[in-house]
């Protein structure tokens, strides 16, 4: 800590980033909030419509609700793959004595590939005609009856577009959790083992409580990223077939830039902001309460 820390010097250093934050984050959010009370197609005169956009969104728009629930399923799949996958891989890594660096690098690799490349890669993997990797594998292991056009089937498309996003960031979260896991004091673990704790008890009573702060941060990161997911579903299926893989974000984008309904698109974006804030609040509430 600085010996002569004064209020002024703190303000001087904090003010520029705060102003930048206001200009880059708060101002656009406020602008969306204002726009959400208007009907505006970009070239017409702006017409004040009060809460009409909100009423339409919450009561009369079937696509909105469809994409909201799709977004929740998308989020769930991403979280299971990213956090669950990361925790499992990180735990296994700690018990590995050789080749850790190689495996870490391999898992992290997808996080550095461009989104567009990932989207094209998975379109090929899911393809049925010509036969893609997934269908070929199913065929080889004798599950030929499961072969299908994964991205055209309304029952599988949402999971199919969620998986690449989950797969992509598993390595990143694995790295964070792994760093937390190796920081768990060895004495604690050894003491517990001497007391006869099983591997599972060791994990639930010592390791996990120890990494809880890191776990909260990663959960918040993964959740907000998941709720904002856009590029992979947009590139792979553009929300289709029908609205089967439409997320709130892709729907908002289309409303703004295809339908040129900027007022209504702002209403949806305000909803996304609120939804993210609620999600973060819930996570903090649940995990903090458990810790107490």
């Amino acid at each position: 800590m600085l010996p002569n820390r004064s209020r002024t010097s703190v303000l001087v250093f904090l003010l520029p980033p705060l102003l930048l934050y206001c200009a880059a984050v708060l101002f656009p959010i406020l602008q969306s909030l204002v726009l959400s009370f208007f009907s505006w197609n970009g070239i017409s005169d702006m017409e004040f419509v009060g809460l009409a956009n909100y009423v339409r969104m919450l009561t009369a728009d079937d696509i909105f609700w469809r994409s909201f629930f799709n977004a929740l399923i998308y989020l769930a799949i991403c979280l299971v793959l990213q956090l669950g996958g990361a925790l499992v891989v990180a735990s296994l890594l700690t018990s590995l004595s050789r080749g850790r660096e190689l495996i870490k690098t391999l898992y992290l690799l997808p996080a550095v590939i461009s989104t567009v490349a990932i989207a094209f890669l998975f379109v090929r993997i899911y393809s049925i005609d010509p036969v893609g990797l997934l269908n070929q594998l199913l065929h080889w292991v004798g599950l030929g009856s499961l072969e299908r056009a994964w991205l055209s089937d309304v029952n599988t498309v949402l999971a199919a577009v969620s998986a690449p996003e989950g797969w992509r960031f598993t390595g990143l979260y694995m790295l964070i959790i792994y760093a937390a896991l190796i920081a768990v004091p060895k004495e604690l673990e050894e003491a517990a083992v001497l007391d006869g704790a099983s591997k599972w008890t060791l994990f639930t009573k010592i390791r996990f409580p120890y990494i809880r702060p890191v776990w909260i941060t990663t959960t918040i990161m993964a959740t907000t990223y998941g709720l904002r997911g856009f590029d992979i579903p947009y590139l792979m299926t553009n929300g289709g077939p029908g609205q089967s893989s439409e997320l709130l974000t892709t729907y908002m984008y289309k409303t703004a830039f295809t339908s040129t309904d900027f007022g209504y698109a702002s209403t949806i974006s305000v909803f996304i902001v609120i939804e993210c804030l609620i999600a973060v609040g819930l996570i903090l509430f649940m995990l903090k309460r458990k810790a107490d």
Partner: protein, 445 residues
């Protein structure tokens, strides 16, 4: 904190109000096509949606260079976004910011019509007449660019005919003939499927190819007016002509006319299926002549490929020589930046363009020049070009340029579901009629 928030809210509202005022800036008179004054060379821009290395861009680049030799300081900046949905978004965003360049591409969409109504585009018929070029153009090429009220604001640079290309050997293998009526196609697909052949290769990813099919039955049953009424809510999918197309699309789906998983397959996937001899039919326009009617085509299928034009139906109100014959995306002239320089350059370029364009082997939007058949062409090339001489008066408009954007997006989504059998024709009809009822009034006041 409260005070700060309030101040920020007011600032946001004020900024919005300011930009809104800026957006309404008045343009110059759109009917004044011959501005007077000195020609002051400068750089002008053309925002366009055409292939980056295509004939139109190459020719216009060359013409601009020629013009710049006589007018030092002139330059034509071509900014192309070939992907159409991305382009439309770019255009609409620039229009919203009132930052459209001197020249920009657009179809005769409801959005473009709003721009025209606001006086932001120069009247193209007056412009072409003042340059004494109006009568050179094919009437069909100009009609394609017109809005419903007959007004013309866009200049065509292409002329294309859309055919259904087919593989004679595959049809023979399945024991089917070229369809005499649109209604023959579902049964034809079943026969082809039974012979293990994919009936139709389609690019599902881009969505417009499937939307072409929904336009065919109403064009035959009720003529070109149907879609013009439909988009305004004056006709509906529940009408006889509408029901005919809904049922037909469902039948196409049931007969498995399109390749499996078509909704996730792209433009080149579909073309490869056809040119590799896996699919029997492929619906595409003359812009693909260089790959379908020259020695670039796969030698294994080269002798088996032919095309037929859109079949009629019994009781059809349009003739066999009337089908989809688009003149491509048109070029609009921004009235705000229209000055003696832009006018003079257009005069120079539009006069020289047709001859240069026809020399590349493409159909010119004018009748003044003859298209050069390339040396490596198959006999089909000439046959395709000659079809342009016998065209009828009416043309089937692609629906994606007609409907309002929200309804159009919904139609594209619902069509996939209808063809895949995920929704019934009744559900489709109800969803689409509701969508039109909700969205059309905003665009067609």
């Amino acid at each position: 904190m409260k005070k700060l928030l309030r101040a920020a809210a007011i600032a946001a509202a004020a900024a919005l109000a300011l930009t809104a005022c800026g957006g309404g800036g008045a343009a110059t008179d759109p009917s004044n096509v011959s501005p007077t004054g000195e020609i002051k060379p400068r750089e002008i821009s053309w925002l366009l949606s055409r292939p980056a290395d295509g004939a139109v861009i190459n020719i216009m680049k060359k013409l601009a260079d020629d013009y710049a030799k006589e007018h030092p300081g002139f330059a034509l900046n071509l900014i192309t976004t070939p992907d159409r949905p991305s382009y439309i978004q770019k255009l609409e965003t620039l229009a919203a910011a009132n930052k459209l360049p001197e020249l920009f591409d657009t179809d005769a969409t409801p959005f473009a019509q709003q721009l025209a109504k606001q006086g932001k585009m120069v009247e193209a018929d007056k412009l072409l007449k003042s340059l004494d070029l109006y009568d050179d153009y094919r009437p069909g090429a100009l009609d394609y660019q017109r809005f419903d009220d007959g007004s013309l604001y866009m200049i065509p640079f292409q002329f294309e005919l859309e055919f259904i290309w087919y593989n004679k050997a595959l049809l023979q293998k399945a024991g089917v003939a070229v369809p005499q009526s649109l209604d023959d196609i579902p049964a034809m697909c079943t026969a082809l499927r039974n012979a293990g052949i994919t009936p139709i290769a389609i690019d599902g990813q881009d969505q417009w190819p499937l939307e072409r099919y929904v336009a065919y039955q109403p064009f035959r049953a009720a003529g070109p007016d149907f879609v013009q009424k439909l988009k305004k809510g004056e006709a509906a999918f529940s009408d006889p002509a509408g029901q005919k197309t809904v049922q037909w699309m469902a039948e196409l789906g049931k007969a498995k006319c399109f390749q499996e998983g078509f909704s996730a397959q792209g433009y080149s996937d579909a073309q490869n299926q056809f040119t590799s001899g896996q699919a029997a039919m492929y619906n595409i326009g003359t812009w693909e002549l260089p790959s379908l009617a020259t020695d670039k085509l796969n030698p294994d299928v080269r002798d088996d490929i032919d095309f037929f034009t859109l079949p009629t139906t019994s009781g059809s109100v349009t003739a066999a020589n009337e089908f989809v014959s688009p003149s491509g995306i048109g070029m609009a002239v921004n009235s705000k930046t229209y000055d003696p320089l832009v006018s003079d350059f257009l005069k120079f370029a539009l006069q020289k363009y047709p001859a240069e364009y026809a020399a590349t082997g493409a159909l010119s939007p004018t009748t003044t020049v003859e298209t050069t058949v390339p040396a490596n062409a198959t006999p089909l090339y000439k046959k395709a070009l000659e079809t342009a001489n016998t065209l009828g008066e009416k043309q089937a408009m692609p629906w994606d340029t007609q409907l309002d954007p929200t309804t159009n997006g919904r139609l594209q989504q619902e069509l996939v579901l209808l063809v895949q059998g995920n929704i019934t024709p009744e559900q489709f009809t109800k969803t689409m009629d509701d969508a039109i009822k909700q969205n059309a009034p905003k665009f067609f006041k």
